[in-house]
């Protein structure tokens, strides 16, 4: 065979692979990725996105059989929060993170939406992407001028961090954070990383290889696949849920102190604080994890200690775990996600409504 013929043939294969890979796109598996603002405090305002989304665990697993695509509608108001109606005031405000925003569910299935349906009173969704910032709420001019009767503070247990009450959040909330952008060497590295991660060839290859591995060995390296209610479910890691550290290591004293001060400040405005921290998968479904994993979870957990100390401090606390555990099957989390499904959010709304009403 002539070298020229060899090179033409290999060149053809090479160009074919390049063509497959040429499509480079940022991940758009959830409305979240499309709408979250770079500063991390809210979404793009006045948007409505309809898309077929997959879960935060399902996306990185690259196994179609483990993904649970669902159609969702995601609407933001004039201030960049997830509300279908622009509101300057509300009877009840729900403050929290992605669980409050309603990652993985549609507009009418979020916790604030279900609470509004059960209470029959206006409820405002003050969920913030990733960050958990009571300070941001406190400086919001709308709710400073016309405080709600009740503020439901529903952080996910991962977000029980003393920094939620830090002054830095106040500065950020007041708009002091400036998006300076990355220096050019970091932009270059970031571009290379995007090409590496998000090229079409890589995406196709990951689906092919990870799917084959799952079919062959029933597992996906680096991910947990549990069986809940007889069906596979993707599970988050104990490290990602921060369940291995003790409450002291996680700053429980500072957190409860911050929470108590926050409640006091809200009370001075005439707002009642209802504290309802939300559990993660290992706390509701410990049996889905192998025994040696379960043994690594620190006991008592941060969630338990925070609830106990918040009650001891006289705060109004709703421990939603009992109601969720009593609900039984089916599984309460989205099967390819770390977030609750619509039924779980409605069960939580039911417990909150009972705690809030009657006036």
């Amino acid at each position: 065979m002539q070298s020229r013929t060899f090179l033409i043939a290999i060149g053809g294969v090479y160009l074919g692979l390049m063509a497959v890979g040429a499509q480079v796109q940022r991940p758009e598996f959830r409305p979240w990725e499309l709408l979250a603002s770079p500063a991390g405090y809210g979404f793009a305002p006045g948007q409505r996105v309809e898309m077929r989304e997959i879960g935060d665990l399902g996306y990185v697993t690259w196994v179609e059989a483990l993904q649970a695509p669902r159609d969702t509608v995601f609407t933001t108001d004039a201030w960049g929060y997830r509300n279908r109606v622009d509101r300057e005031a509300a009877d009840v405000v729900v403050l929290g993170d992605s669980f409050t925003v309603g990652s993985g569910v549609s507009d009418d299935q979020t916790l604030p939406a279900r609470l509004e349906a059960r209470l029959g009173r206006p409820v405002y969704n003050f969920g913030i992407p990733r960050a958990n910032s009571p300070s941001r709420y406190y400086v919001d001019p709308r709710f400073a001028a016309r405080p709600p009767a009740v503020l439901v503070f529903a952080p996910n247990q991962r977000m029980l961090k003393p920094g939620a009450f830090a002054a830095a959040d106040e500065r950020a909330a007041a708009g002091a954070v400036e998006d300076e952008g990355l220096p050019w060497p970091e932009q270059l590295r970031s571009l290379v990383q995007v090409i590496e991660r998000d090229n079409g060839l890589g995406r196709a290859a990951r689906f092919a290889v990870q799917g084959a591995r799952y079919r062959w060995r029933g597992e996906v390296p680096g991910h947990r696949v549990g069986t809940v209610d007889g069906a596979p479910a993707l599970l988050g890691s104990l490290e990602a849920f921060d369940l291995l550290r003790s409450p002291e290591q996680r700053g429980v004293e500072a957190y409860v102190a911050g929470l108590t001060a926050f409640a006091r400040a809200l009370g001075a405005r005439g707002t009642r604080l209802v504290f309802a921290p939300l559990p993660d998968q290992p706390q509701l479904y410990p049996e889905a994890y192998p025994a040696r994993e379960r043994e690594r979870i620190h006991q008592p957990a941060m969630l338990d200690v925070v609830i106990e100390r918040a009650r001891a401090a006289g705060l109004d606390v709703v421990d939603v775990r009992r109601g969720l555990a009593d609900a039984g099957a089916p599984y309460l989390y989205l099967r390819d996600d770390t977030h609750f499904d619509a039924r779980a959010l409605d069960l939580i709304a039911q417990q909150l409504a009972a705690a809030i009403a009657p006036r």
Binding site: M1, Q2, S3, R4, T5, F6, L7, A9, I10, V13, Y14, L17, M18, G21, W62, P185, L188, R189, V192, I195, E196, N199, L201, G202, A205, R206, F207, A208, V209, Q210, P221, G222
Partner: protein
């Protein structure tokens, strides 16, 4: 940037080759293009250490000029010492300061300040490469480069910059002026690059994945320990030789002839033979610039053994700043010295038997190379001699180990492209390996960087 990454394979490489082709009739511009793209290649991995690389190049270029211009032997020696001190100083600072200060603190306590700097990518390679330039000028073996740009192009040549082969100025000097180009050489380079890609992704990374649970398990018996080490021996060979293959293949595409770096080392019939086949450019560097200046084998048997031991000890230390690597070097130095003292007994045995003995002891010696610390080394050795029981055989790992043995025993080296006549079977092989390796490289989420990437 690694050779199997998408950004390199489908963005950087075609741009470099197209530019090189476009400028092929303008030598200066062509070499400058190679210099610029090589600097970009290094900056993509290690921008913050680019000044270290460029500084080393500048110092050694100027020193080379001074040595060549000087006629007084003392002055020539002083300039040479400048180069050696500068290169070894940079190496000592970035690579060994943490090791030295940690070792001193273990003895003297916390009063010794800890100095632990990040490691510039490829520093062990480009300092040795650069030193060989000034030493060869001092020995009148080669004339200095005509320009700083030429010398910089030689040192920064991206195919060999990060992890070798350690190329000498004598190897590339002529080709800097006149590349050796033909369609046959280019095709051979492409084939060798694909072979290297396959060795890395299809073999080395597979062996690494099979070995990982065995190394992670706290309870290892004899069987698990030896299976894991055979897999590691396969992994390190195929990983490192893959990089060399790809580097040599890329060099051929650009018109350069890089030296062969591996010659089926696990077919060696003695330890001396092993070191004529493993990381050839490093072992010849150590031979020419350390072992022979120390006296080599010309100064009596005891001194020879000492020279061997010292050379291998420092060779071990070159690989990493840790007592583990020193131990690894000492083991090989001891094996070489013992072999020489006993009159090279393995040569008299049947080749199959000597190969088994060499491979077994080399695999044994890989333990400290692979381990994080001496405690892990001890634990693994204990398991390998059965102090933790026989253990159980994992079929998947055992199968992978068998594949490692079969492929390692196959007589193949990086020079194959010189002798390759292309045919339909090799084309089919290349297509399958290229597509398979690319799909697996991007689809298997835990693909590892090259093992020698951080030396």
């Amino acid at each position: 940037m690694l050779f199997h990454q998408f950004a390199f394979l489908f963005a950087f490489l075609p741009v470099v080759l197209l530019g090189d082709r476009f400028l092929r009739r303008q030598l200066t511009a062509r070499n400058l293009w190679l210099l610029i793209t090589s600097v970009v290649f290094y900056a993509a991995s290690s921008l913050e250490f680019l000044p270290v690389l460029l500084g080393t190049i500048t110092v050694d270029y100027l020193v080379g000029q001074r040595i060549a211009a000087a006629t007084d032997a003392r002055i020539r020696k002083r300039w040479l010492l400048c180069s050696i001190v500068s290169n070894l100083g940079v190496l000592a600072l970035f690579k060994y300061s943490g090791f030295f200060t940690r070792s001193l603190r273990a003895v003297l306590g916390d009063q010794v300040p800890l100095v632990d700097l990040p490691l510039p990518v490829g520093i062990s390679f480009f300092t040795f490469q650069s030193m060989s330039y000034t030493i060869d000028i001092y020995r009148d073996r080669v004339k200095p480069a005509r320009s700083l740009a030429d010398f910089a192009t030689f040192v920064t040549l991206f195919p060999q910059l990060i992890a070798g082969p350690i190329v000498r100025w004598t190897d590339l000097r002529d080709e800097m002026d006149a590349r050796r180009e033909s369609t046959d050489r280019f095709a051979g380079g492409v084939l060798l690059f694909i072979v290297g890609l396959g060795k890395k992704i299809l073999l080395a990374d597979t062996f690494a994945a099979a070995a990982a649970p065995l190394f992670a398990s706290p309870e290892r018996g004899l069987v698990e320990a030896w299976t894991a080490m055979i897999l590691y021996a396969g992994q390190i060979y195929f990983d490192f030789s893959a990089y060399s293959d790809m580097a040599i293949g890329l060099g051929a595409m650009l018109g350069f002839t890089f030296p062969v770096n591996f010659d089926s080392p696990y077919r060696a019939t003695s330890f001396a033979d092993f070191w004529r086949r493993w990381h050839i450019t490093l072992s010849t560097w150590l031979r020419d610039y350390l072992y022979i200046p120390l006296g080599g084998s010309r100064t009596g048997p005891l001194r020879t053994y000492l020279n061997l031991a010292l050379t291998m000890l420092l060779g071990g230390l070159w690989h990493g700043a840790s007592w583990n690597f020193v131990l690894w070097g000492a083991l090989h130095g001891g094996l070489l010295a013992a072999e020489r003292a006993l009159g090279d007994p393995l040569r008299r045995w049947p080749p199959a038997l000597s190969r088994v003995v060499v491979v077994a002891l080399v695999t044994w010696a890989w333990v400290p190379f692979r381990s994080e610390d001496l405690a892990e080394t001890s634990a693994l050795w204990s398991a390998m001699v059965g102090l933790h029981g026989l253990g159980t055989l994992d079929p998947y790992a055992a199968g992978a180990a068998l594949v490692a043995v079969v492929f390692a025993a196959w007589p193949i080296n990086s020079g194959m492209w010189r002798y390759t006549t292309l045919d339909l079977r090799k084309l089919g092989f290349a297509v399958v390996v290229l597509v398979g390796a690319v799909v697996l490289a991007y689809g298997r989420l835990e693909v590892s960087p090259f093992l020698y990437f951080r030396f």
